[in-house]
């Protein structure tokens, strides 16, 4: 079930456009932000709300690289290895992540905490090597800073669990 907050957000986003279907991609992304991926239910709901066939929504999901049909980790690590980052060690950062977490490109740790993706230019070239954890940017990353970040994220997860 989509939350009421999300549904309200859907309404306000759709209202921005003269043509409802314009809202498809934003709605998919907002739904994914909440659910963790684009579920079948979200596809159906979005298709219904903007008045298109579900296949048109699915076509969009296939096209846009940020949209996933399967859950990713709670912390989705996106490491840029494009040219500016590559020149400053982006590949090392990626490999370091892979080694530390024991997962490869587009894989998720068994506990569902981390997933890893090698991504194209994030628009952070002057802070290369750069990465994103979910939507947060981390720049001028070094293996040491990365270790600290991973530890930090693990701690954060612990904290949120105790609270639950």
């Amino acid at each position: 079930m989509l939350s009421d907050r999300l549904k309200a957000k859907f309404d306000s986003v759709i209202a921005r456009y003269p043509l409802k279907r314009s809202a498809i991609v934003p709605l998919l992304l907002f739904a994914q932000d909440e659910i963790g991926y684009v579920s079948d239910e979200a596809v159906e709901e979005i298709a219904r709300r903007v008045g298109v066939n579900p296949i048109e929504v699915i076509e969009d999901i296939g096209y846009y690289s940020m949209l996933h049909r399967q859950p990713v980790g709670k912390f989705h690590l996106q490491v840029c290895t494009n040219i500016s980052c590559m020149l400053r060690g982006g590949e090392k950062i990626f490999e370091h992540c892979a080694k530390e977490l024991g997962i490869e490109h587009k894989q998720t740790t068994p506990d569902g905490l981390f997933s890893l993706e090698e991504v194209e230019c994030l628009g952070a070239c002057c802070g290369a090597p750069a990465m994103q954890v979910n939507y947060d940017f981390y720049e001028n990353v070094t293996p040491e800073k990365l270790d600290a970040l991973l530890a930090d994220l693990r701690k954060k997860d612990q904290g949120s669990r105790i609270k639950d």
């Binding site: 921005r16 314009s22 991609v25 934003p26 969009d60 690289s65 802070g127 939507y135 940017f137 001028n140």
Partner: protein
């Protein structure tokens, strides 16, 4: 909990127009903006006829900062004056060209500058609705812009009867979700209409048939952010900041093997050598320069011998390259150009929308060929094949992404052919053995 620093390191050589408010505390807020000349240009524009606004922008020689460098005022003048259809202004904030991260700071530190530019553009072509198409990864910027838009509505700079002028204008953000091709203007329009980001057949151009089939202008964030300054200080003033036909300043993003990677606002025509040596502090760790990508990864590369060039559209075109999006990437002497070519091609193969044959198949071919070549499997014919494949893409695709992939490839194959030969001779990469710099 993000961890990044302001990439505006500053340099005494900078000429600050767009970035002049960046150092102010709370520069993104409407209060600071209004306290520092904000929305004055809009007031002034309302005192002018729409045509006069367009002429002022034409006079300024403001050329598109998204990559192609098309004269902005000229583009606006193609929008039909008499039409029953609604018109649209779209700001291209898809910023995805590798090596480019300037629109990001413009939106982060001065969102109202962009909003004011958009409203003026809207007034100039008599449009009443604008969208800012932001790449999905820039979620925090969408939040900043949404807040700024809300403020602007609250204070009457957006909405009905703006500043009592009788002019109405609505503005909303729109998020992409990961697709470089959606920076291409017609693919962006399709994406904004909820479709896959496939480009459209041109002509018709968006100025006539754009968003929802209506006249539309699409401009880069930096392009539009310049507009308030042009209106405030005049087109002539702006033109004189740069070189003939190349008005104003530009935000150059220095990245890669450079001592002080960052974004610097420099006048158009600023010498590339000086940019690297004086502004950027020279090649990283004092190494020698091998090559420069002058304007984002789509541009033909320049060798170390070619950097005595003024950084403006025409001068770079003259030496067979492009100013592009202002992303200046520095590659030092220890960089393997085969690997660099492969990484660039990996990007285009990933980002090709897949619509047209030469780009879809050609980029995939080049990527896999280079992958094999660099991982010790090179064949003597490979460089010639790769060059031929690149030429078979060049000029034959539906949108310029194909050219964007072919051009750097051709330049590397031609200017660094000897590195390919070296790989073949050695049977492996001569650079991998050398130290790789990691900060």
């Amino acid at each position: 909990m993000a961890d990044y620093r302001n990439p505006m390191l500053g340099s005494p050589l900078e000429v600050k127009v767009l970035t002049r408010r960046f150092d102010l505390a709370n520069s993104a807020s409407i209060a600071v903006y209004v306290a520092h000349e904000g929305y004055q240009a809009l007031k002034k524009a309302f005192g002018m006829k729409p045509d006069e606004v367009i002429n002022e922008v034409k006079k300024s020689n403001l050329r598109g900062r998204g990559g192609a460098g098309f004269n902005a005022g000229m583009k606006w003048s193609f929008v039909p004056g008499q039409t029953t259809k609604p018109k649209y202004v779209v700001s291209n904030a898809d910023e995805s060209e590798p090596g480019t991260c300037k629109d990001r700071v413009l939106m982060e530190y001065d969102p109202h500058q962009l909003i004011e530019g958009i409203v003026i553009a809207g007034y100039a072509i008599q449009s009443h609705q604008g969208y800012i198409y932001i790449r999905g990864e820039y979620r925090y910027l969408m939040d900043i812009l949404d807040r700024a838009i809300e403020e602007a509505y609250a204070q009457g700079y957006l909405g009905k009867n703006i500043l009592g002028s009788g002019f109405d204008f609505d503005l909303a953000t729109h998020t992409g979700a990961g697709a470089y091709e959606c920076g291409e203007e017609t693919a962006l329009l399709n994406s904004l209409e909820g479709l896959r980001g496939y480009p459209r057949v041109k002509p018709p151009f968006p100025a006539l048939i754009g968003l929802y089939g209506c006249p539309t202008i699409i401009n880069n964030v930096e392009t539009l952010s310049n507009v308030p300054h042009i209106i405030s200080h005049g087109g002539d003033w702006y033109a004189k900041l740069g070189t003939p036909n190349n008005g104003g300043t530009r935000l150059f993003c220095l990245s890669g093997h450079i001592e002080r990677p960052g974004i610097y606002e420099l006048p158009m025509g600023f010498p590339l050598r000086q940019m690297i040596e004086d502004v950027g502090g020279g090649v990283w760790h004092g190494k020698k320069l091998k090559c420069v990508i002058p304007g984002g990864s789509s541009c033909p590369v320049l060798t170390a011998d070619e950097i005595d060039v003024p950084m403006d559209f025409d001068s770079l075109a003259r030496i067979g390259s492009m100013l592009g999006s202002g992303g200046v990437v520095i590659l030092d002497e220890d960089t393997c150009m085969v690997k660099a070519a492969w990484r660039i091609m990996k990007f285009y193969a990933h980002e090709s929308c897949g619509w047209c044959v030469p780009c879809r198949e050609g980029t995939h071919w080049l990527k896999t060929l280079l992958e094999r070549f660099h991982s010790d499997g090179g064949m003597p014919d490979d460089p010639d094949t790769a060059l031929d494949v690149s030429y078979n893409i060049l000029g034959k695709t539906l949108c310029p992404l194909g050219d964007a992939a072919a051009m750097p490839m051709i330049s590397i194959l031609k200017k660094f052919r000897h590195e390919f030969e070296e790989h073949l001779k050695l049977g492996s990469c001569p650079y991998e053995k050398r130290a790789v710099n990691v900060a």
